[in-house]
């Protein structure tokens, strides 16, 4: 009879015009870095070098901050909200027009599947600009006083898991509220930010309003320490978030921090099981698990444990791992060798501490960084894999007996970014929502994002909210 094998269906790379090397985007132009130092960004799916990227130092940062200050004083702070909105709308439309190009570049640089960049990252990035464009001339009605004021120059540092989307989360509200920006993309994924620089040029955005500096951790540290920064916004690891918190404490600069998580996905006995399985899969294997709000802990009611686990493993066996550019790929490459070794380290600790490991039977490509979708069963609250953020496709399965115990276990973590509740009972959803200590709680779904919905965490998951009306406040003086 033969089998229904899906032939390769790769998206064409031809649309992506990646240059050999990139400068820094300061004052509306690409300029060479002061240090003349470079680093390489590679495709994590095959380890091929994609481009040479400039390493910004303190001199470059100072230039970028000065450009942003000048643009703020001379142009952007004097411009009406309605005029600012025009630029944001223009950027949003350009992102849509160039969506395929952005999707391909993001997939090449990050390793995530084209299905996700095409259907999630890029459309959501455009949506963030559209949404905030709408706010730009209505800020006086947002509940932050009659004449809300921008901070001035904002330093923004973004992670490698959703490069363009995190850029949009940062730049769109900053610009809508009248701030100018110096943004540093992650070391391993600078390309879509550099492509975004072209979009700024295309949109005729006044020079200096958006400045993009590339570099490593040292560059980011120097940026947040710069004296002429009025606000800091960071998304990334809790470890670096703490360093930034210390750094801004000296200068009393306002900061928003969107950090790690160890989200609990709670499945009650009366859940719609097939959809809950999908939700668990989406919660932990979406973007290779490189998601701060990932549902990395499955809390399963003990009386459905066997049935649910069986369904989950069967479903995991159908996950298609491979070439991220293939339209049928479900799970792509781990973003970097460093991240892969971190996942290996935590995964080994799970085995060493006595949890049972099971991985989906995937063929791992010979080149690049890969990790098969994996679950650990027999995990307890006392295991490292139940407490530390793995940031990879690894799910820890725990059980509970009563709803109270589920909440207790879900909240028993230093983090508090996300949680999921799966049940057919409406009253239980509301009850759980009241008791879970997490910034986002999804009911019978997971990893849903919308620009109108605020996002952020409790405890070590961060400070402040991004998106929605709440997110605007972070970019306005005196507003919380």
């Amino acid at each position: 009879m033969g089998n229904f094998e899906y032939a390769p269906a790769p998206e064409s790379k031809a649309i992506a015009d990646i240059k050999k090397d990139y400068g820094l985007f300061i004052n509306g132009r690409f300029v060479a870095s002061n240090s003349k130092k470079h680093f390489e960004t590679i495709n994590p799916a095959n380890e091929e070098v994609l481009a040479k990227i400039s390493l910004a130092d303190e001199v470059d940062i100072d230039k970028a901050v000065k450009a942003a200050r000048s643009a703020y004083v001379k142009v952007w702070s004097r411009m009406s909200g309605r005029e600012r909105a025009k630029y944001l709308f223009r950027i949003a439309r350009l992102l849509q027009e160039r969506a395929r190009e952005f999707a391909v570049v993001e997939t090449l640089d990050n390793g995530k599947p084209i299905r996700e960049t095409r259907d999630t990252d890029i459309p959501l990035s455009a949506a963030h600009f559209f949404y905030h464009a709408g706010w730009a001339d209505k800020l006086e009605f947002a509940g932050f006083g009659a004449r809300p004021k921008a901070h001035g120059v904002v330093a923004q540092i973004i992670p490698w898991n959703f490069p363009l989307l995190m850029l949009a989360w940062k730049i769109a509200p900053a610009l809508a509220t009248g701030n100018t920006v110096v943004l540093k993309p992650a070391e391993t994924t600078p390309l879509t930010a550099l492509l975004f620089a072209e979009v700024c040029q295309q949109a005729d955005l006044p020079v200096g309003v958006v400045n993009l500096i590339t570099g490593d951790g040292g560059t980011g540290a120097a940026l947040v320490k710069h004296r002429d920064i009025d606000k800091v916004a960071f998304t990334g690891s809790t470890e670096v978030g703490k360093l930034i918190a210390r750094s801004v404490a000296d200068s009393n600069t306002p900061a928003t921090l969107e950090l790690g998580g160890k989200g609990a996905n709670i499945v009650f006995e009366d859940a719609p099981l097939d959809q809950a399985v999908e939700g668990i899969i989406n919660g932990i294997f979406f973007n290779q698990g490189h998601v701060c709000c990932a549902g990395s802990r499955l809390l399963l009611q003990e009386n459905i444990y066997d049935e649910f686990l069986g369904k989950l493993q069967k479903r995991m066996s159908k996950i298609r791992l491979g070439d991220p550019l293939d339209k049928n790929t479900d799970i792509g490459a781990i973003n970097s060798a460093a991240q892969l070794s971190k996942i290996h380290e935590l995964s080994s600790s799970g085995q060493a501490e006595g949890a049972d490991i099971w991985s989906a039977p995937c063929q791992i490509p010979s080149k690049g960084f890969w990790f098969a979708p994996t679950i650990f069963t027999g995990v307890t609250q006392a295991h490292r894999i139940a407490r530390e953020e793995i940031f990879g496709p690894v799910l820890s399965v725990l059980t509970f007996r009563t709803p109270q115990e589920a909440i207790e276990k879900a909240n028993n973590t230093p983090f508090g970014l996300s949680a999921g509740v799966w049940t057919d009972k409406g009253s239980r959803i509301l009850w759980a929502g009241n008791h879970l200590k997490a910034g986002v709680i999804w009911a019978n779904t997971f990893n849903k994002f919308d620009p109108a919905s605020p996002f952020g965490g409790y405890k070590e998951s961060g400070w402040g909210r991004e998106g929605g009306r709440h997110g605007l406040g972070a970019y306005l003086k005196g507003a919380k």
């Binding site: 009879m1 859940a271 097939d274 339209k327």
Partner: protein, 315 residues
């Protein structure tokens, strides 16, 4: 078998069993179906899928205006979908009203189509609104004229008013007439059941009562074979196999007109129920216009050019 032993055919036992089934979250089911709809089936896999889809078609004519001539022409097309290309497989079956079964069977036999089964819609298709006696006789007539597959409709009124035993008994009674030789397809008419929870319950009811296939729709009601409905039915046959070791077939019917739609159905079957279901014995597509679109896409794959509609036959 443990779960199945709970069913003694009584209303109470059916209700009890169906209540143990987990609910279906509509949004989640729609999302999963939509995601599978993005699978990109190209080149060799597309060629395979087109031929497989052709071999799974229940080529159908169910009109008040059906005549012997119309049915004979349909049968010829069923055997040789593309008269110029003998490598095109024949379709899965021909599906007609019960009074047309004899004409279809005789014509197929006379042109070398002995292998192609004739399916008859029966039990007061499409509404199912007739006495039990009439429905049974309708099915007996079709079988005596040579039907080897019966596509019966369930009594949706009984189902929606909670008379599960009534629905169950009726399916059983028709299955008894069918015996082991004649395959029974049970049409749920999901467009009238409306909710996916109902689709799952009706699927189980049919499987427990002895259906060989569960089928979405009559084709006379919209919506018909939507992706979320087929998804839920495929989950039902997959899970039923777990508890019974019996594989029940699935037949989406109604509204599947393009090659793209048909391939999406195959992807659903492949990824939800599994590759076992990708045979005409366990998966059929009820359609009429679909066949020509498949043939045109098949020509495009082999020649690289799209032909006009005049290069495929009207039936």
């Amino acid at each position: 078998m443990s779960a199945l032993n709970l069913i003694d055919g009584s209303e109470a036992s059916l209700r009890r069993f169906l209540q143990t089934l987990p609910g279906v979250d509509q949004i989640g089911a729609q999302e999963r179906a939509a995601m599978l709809g993005t699978r990109s089936i190209k080149t060799t896999s597309k060629k395979w899928a087109i031929d497989r889809a052709i071999s799974m078609i229940d080529l159908t004519t169910l009109e008040g205006a059906d005549t012997a001539g119309k049915v004979r022409s349909l049968c010829s097309k069923a055997l040789r979908p593309d008269p110029q290309d003998a490598t095109v497989p024949h379709v899965g079956a021909v599906c007609v009203y019960s009074d047309m079964v004899g004409i279809a069977r005789n014509h197929l036999d006379s042109i070398g189509g002995q292998d192609i089964p004739v399916a008859a819609v029966a039990t007061a298709f499409p509404s199912g609104r007739a006495s039990r006696k009439v429905k049974l006789q309708d099915s007996r007539d079709a079988i005596s004229l040579g039907a080897s597959e019966i596509d019966m409709v369930i009594d949706r009124g009984a189902f929606l008013s909670g008379q599960l035993g009534e629905v169950f008994d009726e399916i059983r009674a028709i299955k008894e007439i069918c015996g082991d030789k004649v395959h029974l397809k049970v049409i749920l008419e999901t467009g009238e059941l409306v909710t996916l929870d109902n689709v799952r319950k009706a699927s189980y009811l049919a499987m427990l009562a002895g259906a060989d296939f569960i089928k979405t729709s009559t084709g006379k009601v919209t919506p018909a074979a939507t992706a979320p409905v087929v998804l839920v039915m495929l989950e039902a046959v997959r899970d039923f196999f777990e508890i019974s070791q019996i594989r029940i077939g699935v037949k989406p019917a109604g509204g599947i007109r393009s090659t793209k739609d048909a391939i999406k159905q195959l992807v659903l079957a492949n990824e939800i129920a599994g590759p076992h279901w990708l045979t005409p014995e366990l998966f059929r597509i009820g359609a009429s216009a679909l066949l020509n679109d498949l043939l045109m896409q098949r020509m495009k794959l082999s020649t690289g050019r799209y032909s006009s509609v005049n290069y495929v036959t009207v039936d």
